[in-house]
């Protein structure tokens, strides 16, 4: 069956001629099916920090003397670090996440990343998202393959909302055989205008596509209108987030809020993705205050708000963050840092064994640095994600998700 299915790239597409089965079983039993799925299954939320976030100033190794000698003006002073475990501490702008660490929902992995040595943003993001560092020929993404791996184990019906990206297009992470949906604004996901009832033009379009003999467009159309109907049925116009959430007023917070909205709406969301830019702090990155601090504040507050918003549903969520590489250990000549290597990942969730910083710390003495300039990697990021997907999505076939990585469950960090 797999060989007769076509293989889809960035935006994903639905079943082609020959696999006419797709729409039929989706349309009727949708709510019942997705209710079951959401009761049993756990959901994965992935956040990509684009631009190479400065992991050393985010999860600060404040006991390392070289951290201070290498970053004379941008290091976070010991007194202002939010201590986590006596060695590492959080940047003070991340106060919102500290309680989650104390409550043991938040785990951190440090000195992790992609083994490929590229320092090109584009290449590194590509490699990280495709899940095959160094291989340019991979066209799909690790999360899409993880969902495929899940399908190998468990056959259950899925909706058009199974894999959702908040943004204008489906990211490489979600590209592949499993159809993924990109929504930039939940309220606008309709044709011919918002509203509780479909606009007449929407009904006209639906009839057209439903009757079309163009099988590709017919099934894409079916899925489109099904998704619109499903979403409309949740009355998105009147949705309000939980009163305790307190999202900041930023585009990233809006995306997190909408992810929560979709997760809570029983639409069958299994994997959600969004990203946040502005991390490429080559100059004037600031220390306790400044560019990076502002970015971290938005980042932390939005994630904390999301956590509160999910309420009891947070139990079934695992949220993971990543960035294509870290930044140089030394600061540069313009008050910033340059492209580096290892970075920190956050893993937050109801089933996460939080309250700990995982991974082997490579040290920051000159001779311990990667190529004499960056933090060295001691945990391949695929080991972290491999554990997350197998424990969250039940995607146990690691070779499918991360081909060539030769991941061994015995080597998981024990995060989830």
């Amino acid at each position: 069956m797999q060989t007769s299915r076509r293989f889809f790239l960035r935006n994903g597409a639905l079943a082609l001629a020959g696999t006419a089965a797709l729409p039929a079983f989706l349309t009727r039993a949708v709510f019942a099916a997705s209710a079951t799925a959401s009761a049993q299954g756990k959901k994965l939320v992935v956040i990509f920090q684009r631009g190479a976030a400065d992991g050393l100033n985010i999860v600060v190794p404040w006991r390392e003397p070289t951290y201070y000698s290498m970053r004379p003006t941008i290091a976070i002073p010991q007194k202002q670090v939010l201590d986590l475990d006596g060695f590492f501490g959080l940047h003070p702008a991340m106060a919102s996440l500290e309680p989650l660490y104390r409550q043991r929902h938040l785990a951190i992995v440090h000195a992790t990343g992609s083994p490929d040595g590229t320092r090109s943003h584009f290449d590194a993001q590509d490699y990280m998202e495709s899940g095959t560092p160094g291989l340019k020929s991979t066209r799909d993404g690790w999360l899409n393959r993880a969902l495929q791996a899940e399908d190998q184990r468990v056959k259950q019906p899925h909706t058009a909302f199974r894999a959702v990206a908040l943004g204008t297009d489906v990211p490489r992470t979600l590209a592949g055989r499993i159809p993924a949906l990109a929504i930039s604004n939940v309220q606008d996901f309709a044709i011919g205008g918002r509203g509780p009832k479909p606009a007449p033009v929407s009904t006209a379009f639906e009839a057209m596509y439903d009757q079309s003999s163009d099988s590709l467009l017919h099934s894409a159309g079916d899925s489109t209108f099904e998704a619109i109907k499903m979403l409309r049925a949740t009355d998105p116009g009147h949705y309000t987030s939980d009163a305790s959430a307190n999202y900041p007023d930023s585009p990233f917070a809006k995306n997190m809020k909408q992810i929560a909205q979709l997760l809570k709406a029983n639409l069958g969301v299994e994997a959600a993705f969004t990203d946040l830019g502005g991390w490429d702090t080559h100059q004037n990155q600031g220390s306790v205050d400044g560019q990076l601090a502002n970015r971290l504040r938005d980042f932390s507050e939005s994630i904390a708000a999301f956590w509160r918003d999910m309420g009891s549903d947070a139990e079934n969520i695992t949220l993971v963050t990543m960035s294509e590489f870290g930044r140089t250990a030394h600061q540069n000549g313009t008050g910033g840092t340059d492209h580096g290597h290892a970075n920190a990942m956050f893993v937050l969730g109801g089933h996460v064994k939080g309250g700990k910083v995982y991974g082997k710390w490579p040290g920051m003495a000159e001779h311990q640095l990667n190529e004499g300039r960056d933090l060295a990697i001691t945990t391949d990021y695929r080991r972290v994600l491999g554990e997350v997907v197998s424990r969250t999505l039940g995607a146990n076939n690691l070779e499918v998700t991360f081909p060539g990585a030769q991941l061994n469950p015995n080597q998981f960090l024990g995060l989830v």
């Binding site: 090109s120 379009f205 009839a207 057209m208 467009l217 930023s250 502002n294």
Partner: protein, 698 residues
Amino acid sequence: MPSYNRFNNGRRSVSRVRAVAAILMAASLCNPGLGAQAAASSASGTKIDTDQRILHVLNRFTFGATPGEMAAVRKVGIDAWFEQQLHPSSIPDRDVDARLAEFPALRLPVPTLLERFPSGAMIRQTANGKLAEPRDPYLSAIYNRHIDLYEEKQAKKADEKPKMATDTDMATIGIVAGQAQGQLPLNQKGKARLDKGRPAYAELLVKTTLALPPDERVKRILTMQPEEYGQLQDSLKGPQKMLVTQDMTPAQRELVEDFDNPTRTVVRELQGQRLLRDIYSKRQLQEVMTTFWLNHFNVYLHKNDEAPYYLVSYERDVIRPRALGNFEDLLVATAESPAMMLYLDNATSTGPDSPAVEKQKQRVTMGKPAKKGTPPGLNENYARELMELHTLGVNGGYTQKDVTEVAKVFTGWTVDQPALGGGFKFDETRHEPGKKLVLGKKIKENGQKEGLQLLHMLATSPATAHFIAQELAVAFVSDTPSPALVNRMAQTFLKEHGDVAAILKTMLHSPEFWASDVYQAKMKTPLEYVISAARASGVEIEDTQPLANALNQMGMPLYSCVPPTGYSAKAEEWVSTGALVTRMNFALSLATNHFPGIKAKWVPGHLEESGPNQSEQLLEARLIPAGVSEKTRAAVIDQATGQASGLPTGTTAGVEGNQGNMPIAARALSPSARQTAIERQNAQLAGLLLGSPEFQRR
């Protein structure tokens, strides 16, 4: 009613021969070979250019058939038309030339463009005293404004204090965080943003500014302080924004936009000219091939501060003049372009044994500190993509060792002072000495000539011929082109030494191109969709921005494909739930004049008295000459009928107290109200047709 295709602008009278041909055509859709039946049915035995064949050629080799183009091809025949298209300079293009006169900046050489529309780097360097300030008073005003903005931003970064998270502070934090985010446009609103206490003044400011004659208005704006200018910008409501530059000459308008945001002005003009050419140019094949090669030799718009400027020249001087020429010529031109050398990081690639590195080593052993950005080393990015994406293809038989050797060959291929828009330069000091071994061939040490030798080797390789042939076949014929076709095209490539025109002709004359399962079978990419919608609907465009925005939403932003692979030409890439929603909404917005600056007219004279059926027929003939299915037609007409009664579809039966299913013509309306009603009805029909499954394909 048989669903035969209506090609003649809605005129039902077709000649007897044509009718026979057309009916046979419809029947022949089940049989292979468009035109085969028609040729057989012709009494004289000469090849008949049936309208379906013409439509097919136009759909594939232009950005969308228009009634005008079809008439033109009918007149001279497909072969003659194609030959003419292969010689674009022989085709007058007055309409497009007039439109492009709006963008004088795009004619400038890169250093001048950079100087007049300063990039972030130019502003920084001027602020730091490394560059002299301009003498021209207008330009000086522009520089001063942006230097002020830059210095303000620096000051802000330096002394930003953290705020503890409280509810009242959320909004402020959000704004600050939002502004700092790298994704936002450069346009900084002045401090006036938070100064909401002076509405009366703001209104007066807008009124008096807009009332000035253009010459005065330019001066007034360019001498505004940041606060005042910010207030002006903030107080302008949507359509008013266009009034700021109303009646100005193109040069004046550019000055005002430059004042606002120099780089964005360049990007807007670059994207605008591309859209206008694609829509209005008579030299359609040249534009189609320019798009093809820009994608094949992809360069990303935001790679660095200078990329937008270099892209202006890249398209204008490197790609377009060679789009229908010789492949090797084009390949070499891209290899010697600053745009490509910077995009794929070759400009800083340095040979490990080059004089520059030797010098560096000496410095370090002598105890001197290493220069910034060192140690310089080999960068393999261009070398790899040159072989993987530009020539041989990923299966073209090269190894990692070859990549490294090719990288060595191209060391020294760099750019002279890129921050100032300098041109290509070969830097001997970066060049790796010694001979190189690539794909089993020895390349003797010979400076820049090594690269030219290598490019010749790649351009004439059978693997390249095959790779390019495959790519062209996918773009023009089918997502899964037959190996026979691709081989034939590859043979032409080799025989005619990479002559693009010859390869295209081979394609045009191949039976595979005319197979019935190829007709109307390719899914339109977002660019093809947006442009064909504009062409078909004959819109008059004053502002291309809504089209550029639509492309962003559809996932195909212009010049903004990040990886060097470029955008795919295959259906699977572009069909998805999100994509369909965006396309349908776009179709509705375009047709119902929802985009300011883009106007469609849906009331040709003889439509005045028509009912929904006739309107649909006429619109269908104009927008989708290949015709739509009965189902689509029914859905569209249903919608129109529902509209006529003013009720949602499906509730048209037995309604009392209104005009029911009465055609607009029969209702008691004043002439102008009738006109409006017809226009609105037709706009919605058009929107439905442009969003139909049939219009997604070409």
